[in-house]
């Protein structure tokens, strides 16, 4: 594939508002624009290309802006006691509600695996001990032992609905924090559904996303295989997976994006809200001072305990 031949342009795109005629400068990866002068929602339609396919599906926003702001405020209030105090007091700044491009990946996995399966059995063994009268006696007890048998087999399964971000602005971990999206609400993409909202074009190449999805699919096979293993226990599970019937579709997911600035010298913390379910996700900055104080207190308690114990003896 000629994946990296189309580099995203850094220069701004100039469009003219079809309602009032004013010139608008647009970030190159945006699919929509709202005219600042007349509030008209413009949509850019372009022919699909290798790394900029036309989105196949969309999920519409369900969570309104007010609800998203409320959810984020609650979330910050509930954040860990170890979070930086400035962060807990900071007011979230709504940057935007955006349709985020991501790829939806499906495949069938055929795997070949090797593992050692532990099969338990019990054995009666004799042992000697001293009884209450101080005599040495021989007794028996049953012990559980494990017999290891090697197993080699094949496993075929579906890998369904792996979601990987196609936006450079939002990492896969950040997106995973607000997943899942209810895919039953998928709609066929039409320009009308993103009209009046911000919508991003994919900024990662399809190849890169495909590799990412592929990796997640192989991990998913691993966790399915763990549940598939017979026996009482297993070890040394190794597998080779061949993915077939792979399909990848560009989907626009609704996400509210917030920035929390708690320290002028640090970049703001990105918090996302799932625009369909209202689930909040983000990385809370942990205060090293608070953590070290807590560790100090715990250590002090242990020390006091040890000292008291030592004195008591």
């Amino acid at each position: 594939m000629a994946a990296d031949t189309i580099e995203p342009k850094i220069d701004y795109k100039e469009i003219s508002c079809q309602s009032c005629g004013s010139k608008l400068l647009l970030e190159p990866q945006m699919l929509t624009a709202i005219c600042p002068y007349c509030a008209s929602p413009s949509i850019i339609q372009r022919p699909p290309s290798e790394n900029l396919p036309t989105p196949t599906f969309t999920i519409g926003f369900v969570v309104t802006q007010d609800r998203a702001i409320e959810a984020v405020s609650n979330w910050i209030g509930r954040s860990s006691v170890f979070a930086k105090s400035a962060f807990r007091k900071a007011a979230p700044e709504l940057t935007r509600g955006v349709y985020l491009p991501a790829y939806l990946y499906n495949a069938v996995a055929h795997s070949e695996y090797h593992a050692d399966i532990g099969e338990n059995y019990t054995e009666t063994e004799t042992y000697t001990t001293t009884d209450s009268n101080g005599k040495t006696v021989t007794r028996t007890r049953t012990v559980t032992k494990t017999e290891w048998r090697s197993l080699h087999g094949q496993h075929s399964c579906y890998i369904l609905d792996v979601v990987v971000t196609a936006s450079k602005g939002i990492t896969n971990e950040a997106l995973e924090a607000v997943e899942p999206f209810d895919l039953r609400a998928l709609r066929r993409f039409t320009p009308a559904i993103v009209s009046g909202w911000l919508a991003e074009e994919p900024s990662r190449t399809q190849d890169e996303c495909f590799r990412l999805a592929h990796g997640e699919a192989v991990d998913e096979v691993g966790s399915q295989l763990k549940r598939f293993m017979p026996g009482d226990s297993y070890r040394n599970l190794r597998y080779e997976t061949d993915l077939s019937r792979e399909s990848i579709d560009l989907v626009l997911f609704p996400v509210w994006s917030f920035a929390v600035r708690y320290d002028e010298s640090k970049p703001p913390v990105q918090i996302l809200v799932n625009g369909q379910t209202g689930r909040v996700g983000g990385k809370v900055p942990i205060s090293p001072v608070k953590v070290s104080i807590a560790v100090g207190i715990v250590l002090a308690i242990i020390l006091v305990g040890v000292l008291l114990f030592g004195m008591a003896r």
Binding site: I15, S16, Q18, S19, S40, P41, S42, I43, I44, Q45, R46, P47, P48, T56, F57, G60, F61, V63, T64, L104, N106, V108, H110, I117, E119, Y121, K145, T146, E147, R149, L151, H152, G153, Q154, H155, S156, C157, Y158, L160, D161, R184, A185, L186, R187, R188, T190, P191, A192, I193, V194, S195, G196, W197, F228, M229, P230, G231, R245, S247, D249
Partner: protein, 330 residues
């Protein structure tokens, strides 16, 4: 490229098959329900050059924007809403009725014959005094499916065991599912369906009910997504049972795990004829179900004769007592 108008018409008339796994897509599916592959669009809206536009309301000409409260793009002036192709999850109806070939008279005669064939523990006067209260023709509903599946399994079995009583085994096999019935009936029990399922001629299905009057006609009362779940569960259960019977070596097994990958899963919805007969014996109501196409297939319950059972138990108890006494004396 074919003519765009023609391809639109075709896509709406013919339900295409999933290009990945061959299972038919139903009208209103955005993706294949089995493997998740996206369905081809009904209308191809790809533009050939980059254009900037504002979508206008067809009613009043104002700009259209997506509204989360309405879950649809709508016009803020005249409130009209733009329809978008979404996943449809309809309540689906039967695709055909199998006609009755057994007459009510034959069914009644079969009931009498069955009652007299039940054996000694039943009341002696059962077949002479049981009165058929009601004989109701019924079309019950079920999904019928065909599929090819690659089934992989792993289990512990006593075959090849050494110190532990269990040894691990694994395998993969190709299975064909042909005209498998999964009941959607609320009226018939699973046991009754098991008995009836084998005796139907599926190719006799007609578009309308035939062969009985005043019949009760069951409806499918679950949505398509739910129906697919039922079919998937049935497939899993059947492959599990087949692996148990034919694949796992040895005589005992545990921890059987099965994983399926399907090809060409085709599901039909059909209505099946049966007679449900209620009969009364000494004031109690009993029920019997007979297939509407094969009168030998029937499932039902009948009273036991309490007097006879008590009598036998008493005789057995006396014998045991005598034996015990005899052994303790000697």
């Amino acid at each position: 490229m074919s003519d765009p108008d023609q391809s639109t018409i075709q896509a709406e008339l013919v339900h295409p098959d999933c290009s990945a796994c061959g299972s038919p897509l139903e009208n209103g599916d955005l993706r294949c329900a089995i493997c998740g592959k996206s369905a081809p669009a009904r209308r191809e809206s790809a533009s050939t050059k980059e254009v900037v536009k504002i979508l206008r309301c067809t009613g009043c000409g104002a700009a259209v924007a997506y509204d989360p409260k309405k879950q649809a793009p709508s016009c803020s002036f005249c409130d009209s809403v733009v329809e978008i192709e979404t996943l449809e999850d309809p309540m689906e109806q039967t695709g055909g009725y199998l006609p009755f070939t057994v007459t009510p008279e034959e069914a009644k005669a079969q009931l009498q014959g069955w009652l007299s064939s039940l054996g000694w523990f039943r009341p002696s006067d059962l077949s002479s005094t049981a009165r058929v209260q009601e004989l109701k023709p019924l079309w019950w509903v079920a999904w019928v499916f065909d599929a090819d599946a690659r089934v992989s399994w792993a289990a512990d079995s006593n075959h090849g065991s050494r110190r532990s009583p269990w040894a691990p085994h694994a395998g993969a096999t190709q299975m064909v599912f042909d005209d498998i019935l999964a009941s959607a009936s609320k009226g018939l029990s699973a046991a009754e369906v098991d008995v009836l399922a084998s005796g139907y001629q599926l190719e006799t299905a007609k578009p309308a009910p035939e062969g009985a009057e005043n019949a009760t006609i069951e409806q499918f009362d679950v949505q398509r997504s739910q129906a697919r779940k039922h079919v998937a569960q049935a497939l899993n259960a059947i492959s599990h049972a087949r692996v148990e019977q034919t694949e796992v070596p040895g005589t005992r097994f545990r921890n059987l795990k099965v994983s399926l990958v399907l090809q060409n899963l085709v599901t039909h919805r059909l209505s099946f004829p049966a007679y449900v007969m209620a009969y009364r014996y000494k004031g109690q109501l009993y029920r019997l179900v007979i297939s509407g196409q094969d009168k030998r297939l029937l499932s039902g319950n009948a009273p036991y004769s309490v007097a006879k059972i008590v009598g036998v138990c008493a005789v057995l108890a006396v014998i045991v007592l005598i034996v015990l006494m005899a052994t303790s004396l000697s």
